[in-house]
């Protein structure tokens, strides 16, 4: 099969200006430039089911983004059907967006999903977000950098945020920061180990099985422990990340911080791909 290389823009969200990083992915030469199933009612129905099962967990039932970004805005920001097809087929590197290879996912499966998504896409783009990214960087340096890394700087107990602007919806980041998000990302579940002498080791869980648990403790030591060597291994209910309520972070500060985080598109050194 003849291949051409096409520079496909990665999904972006929130920011009015597109600062998409170009990733090179293979798109077959015979791939239609336009969705052949657009407007086809049966394809839309099938696409809805497939979307709900395979995409809605991260992008939301309304596609406005939960953990993953808002994907109703992609067309008004100038992305083409072929580029979106390629994003679904190949995934987005260094984010949680997986590839969907054939034969498990056929070309038609992808076109159906896009046909459905198109029905939810607005005709015009959402307005630019408020907030000052430079001020937001200051908020980050004061409150977040101890645990979160951007490029070469920052802690490693929490997720690397170098590409968080690509990977997360603004609203999802806001909920996480305010402490109203109830799920933990894999690899960051809070855990407390209690040694036989009663000493406690707090950290986040990197892996586990019936007999052992592997953690990063609050001093960023990565270490595995046998359950039989511990008095208790306790899965904590509250995230290792403190909640930043209104008393710690004003609405204006949060706005600035979110705008800063949205600008993080990973254009500097490539970070680790989210640990797992």
């Amino acid at each position: 099969m003849k291949w051409i290389y096409l520079a496909a823009a990665v999904l972006v969200l929130g920011a009015a200006e597109l600062v998409a990083q170009d990733v090179f992915v293979k798109i077959p030469a015979d791939l239609p430039g336009k969705n052949p199933l657009e407007g086809n009612s049966e394809a839309i129905t099938a696409g809805m089911g497939a979307y709900r099962v395979r995409c809605a967990d991260c992008h939301g039932m309304d596609a406005r983004g939960i953990r993953g970004p808002d994907i109703t805005q992609v067309w008004v920001r100038g992305r083409t059907d072929a580029a979106l097809f390629s994003t679904i087929r190949n995934g987005v590197p260094s984010t949680e967006m997986p590839a969907h290879p054939a034969p498990r996912t056929s070309d038609m499966d992808i076109w159906r999903i896009l046909a459905y998504l198109k029905t939810m896409a607005p005709a015009t783009a959402a307005g630019p977000s408020s907030g000052n990214a430079t001020a937001g960087e200051g908020v980050f340096a004061t409150n977040c950098v101890g645990c979160h890394r951007i490029g070469e700087k920052g802690g490693r107990l929490g997720p690397d945020l170098s590409r968080i602007g690509v990977a997360r919806a603004r609203a999802a980041m806001a909920r996480q920061i305010r402490g109203t998000m109830d799920d933990f990302r894999t690899g960051f579940e809070p855990v407390t180990l209690t040694a036989p002498n009663g000493q406690e080791i707090r950290g986040v869980k990197k892996n586990e099985d019936l007999f052992s648990v592997q953690i990063m403790d609050t001093r960023e030591r990565i270490q595995g422990y046998l359950r039989e060597d511990m008095r208790a291994v306790t899965n904590e209910k509250k995230s290792a990340m403190p909640a930043f309520g209104g008393d710690k972070l004003t609405d204006a500060q949060l706005d600035d911080l979110l705008t800063y985080l949205e600008s993080l598109q990973g254009t500097t050194a490539a970070p680790a791909a989210g640990n797992r």
Binding site: E42, T45, G49, R52, V53, D109, D209, L210, F211
Partner: protein
């Protein structure tokens, strides 16, 4: 002095004689694998493993007793074999005359020296050009069948091959179906007398399933049983319109064989499209059923449908196990199957009548199995565009990983899953070779929705649970049990596990680095030491007790 040295001399002479006799025995070529040998199943001397389930009843229960609950913690690895390819083992290796015969992923197969793990020959069948294969669920294979000096193997492009045991060369190659139309085959053949019985898969791509028998000598087809009846045949009217033509009903796992009754028993796959069923109104026979076929003619002797008009992809691709039990004071010949739909069944294998039908995991779709043998359906059973929460999930209460049966304790052992799902359905047009499911299931998450797995020991006369061993997540490992009361299992995190069959208590573990998936360990004797062979990921690892000496040439 004289006496002692003469005694020593005598000893040396005796040892030499024993060694010579052993050598002679070793050098004598073993007779060809006979139909009788297959009938005999696993022998107490541990000299072989010749069928998918060890015996025709699919017990996966070894008579060997060298490894016990007390000493299992002294197992040490003997060797590791690596495939050096992507893809993983889902195979049950065969053993004869100290040689292992193993199928792997990507149409690969090997003969391997069981003493050292060294390859003797390797077979590879080229896969069709990229994009041509539509094998639903992994480019895997479940193992060889054997008869005479031939091995039988199904291929991903829906062929059946006979290989020469000594060389791996192809003796004959029979096309079973057209892979470009979605047909594939991954099943381990069941050899019965002079016939090789196999089936085809592809139910997610709109095929019409069948079980077929081929002449072991020539590869010529002897009979074919379509798992969906054609026009004019009984049961065709259980499919609306022409939906029978592409209704799926695949064959994924090897059946059981009762030589006295002359029947083979096979679990049948789901109807297609999986979730959206308007196009296939009716019970959809023989999807989600067990069928008993006459081994000589392939004619249907009886059937029992576990899930009439399935909407959840709950195919009956679980390994059927045969046993002779006393139930309510009566001796019964039974076939047992722990089903993906959440119920455990014991049926009379002479006529297919239900004896026991009882949930072995949380089930929300059926209240019970009624006296007529049909499930009593509960509300919320039908998936739709909005989604319906139902237990079990799509992968099911258990699936294609083989259970085992310990007759001495009357324990049916199965790796069960406790997971629920939201099921969606939508209308889908059939396009040949395209995935044809009409919906999907999504694992349910959230507070109170714990998803986990457990090894459960069931009493097949009642369906009651005797004990369980819990995993932190659902396991997809098959099971091997032994007469000494050790069960070998695996968890999804890659631990190879030994569990006490009497109590369900943990005995021993080893982290393999990859989970046992869809298959179990096998066990046999070699040079006086009981071996446990574990297929996990891309490796085979042989284990034996560290403190048992090798006695070359003995069992």
């Amino acid at each position: 002095m004289f006496r002692r040295s003469s005694a020593r001399l005598a000893l040396v002479a005796l040892a030499a004689a024993v060694f010579a006799a052993t050598l002679a025995a070793q050098n004598a070529p073993p007779p060809l694998v006979s139909a009788q040998e297959l009938l005999d199943g696993l022998k107490a001397d541990g000299s072989r493993w010749l069928t998918f389930g060890g015996d025709y009843g699919n017990h996966r229960h070894s008579p060997l007793t060298q490894i016990t609950p007390e000493n299992v913690n002294r197992l040490v690895p003997q060797w590791v074999f690596q495939t050096d390819t992507p893809g993983r083992f889902e195979t049950t290796p065969l053993l004869r005359d100290n040689v292992l015969y193993v199928t792997g992923p990507l149409n690969l197969a090997w003969a391997i020296d069981a003493r050292t793990g060294r390859e003797i020959w390797r077979y590879k069948r080229e896969l069709p050009p990229t994009g041509g294969l539509t094998a639903c669920c992994g480019l895997v294979n479940k193992g060889f069948g054997v008869l005479g000096d031939r091995l039988f193997m199904t291929t991903l492009d829906a062929h059946l091959l006979a290989l020469d045991m000594k060389t791996g060369n192809v003796v004959w190659d029979t096309t079973m179906a057209d892979y470009s139309k979605g047909y594939a085959s991954t099943i381990a053949p069941l050899v019965v007398k002079d016939k090789v019985i196999v089936g085809v898969a592809g139910g997610e791509y709109g095929i019409r399933g069948f079980i077929a028998a081929f002449d072991a000598r020539t590869g010529k087809e002897a009979w074919r049983f379509y798992t969906i009846p054609g026009p004019g045949e009984p049961g065709n009217d259980t499919w609306a319109g022409d939906s029978w033509e592409r209704g799926g009903a695949s064959i994924w796992v090897t059946g059981a064989y009762d030589p006295d009754l002359g029947m083979v028993y096979y679990g049948i796959g789901n109807p297609g499209p999986d979730y959206h069923s308007d196009s296939r109104k009716g019970d959809n026979l023989y999807s989600d059923s067990i069928v008993a076929l006459d081994t000589e003619t392939g004619k249907l002797r009886w059937h029992y449908q576990f899930t009439p008009h399935d909407l959840h992809d709950w195919d009956a691709t679980q390994v059927p196990i045969l046993a002779d039990l006393t139930i309510a004071g009566q001796p019964r010949k039974v076939v047992m199957l722990a089903n993906r739909n959440g119920f455990f069944y014991t049926l009379d294998r002479t006529n297919g009548k239900l004896i026991v039908g009882k949930p072995f995991v949380v089930t929300t779709w059926a209240k019970e199995i009624g006296p007529d043998g049909r499930p009593v359906i509960l509300p919320g059973y039908v998936p739709d565009e909005k989604g319906q929460l139902t237990c079990p999930d799509v992968t099911g209460a258990t699936n294609f990983w083989p259970p085992s049966y310990d007759p001495s304790q009357r324990l049916f052992l199965v790796n069960a899953r406790e997971v629920c799902a939201t099921y969606y359905a939508w209308k889908q047009e059939y396009v040949p070779g395209e995935r044809y499911t009409g919906g999907a299931g999504q694992r349910a998450r959230g507070p109170g929705m714990r998803a986990y797995g457990a090894l459960r020991a069931l009493d097949p006369t009642t369906g009651e649970r005797r004990w369980e061993f819990e995993y932190i997540s659902p396991s997809t490992s098959g099971l091997l049990s032994t007469a000494s009361g050790v069960i070998f299992s695996g968890d999804a995190e890659g631990n190879f596990l030994a569990i006490d069959a009497r109590t369900g208590k943990f005995l021993w573990r080893f982290q393999m680095g990859s989970a046992l998936h869809g298959t179990s360990a096998i066990t046999y004797m070699l040079d006086g030491r009981q071996q446990v062979l574990v297929p996990a990921g891309t490796t085979l690892t042989a284990w034996a007790l560290s403190d048992v000496p090798r006695v070359p040439g003995t069992r």
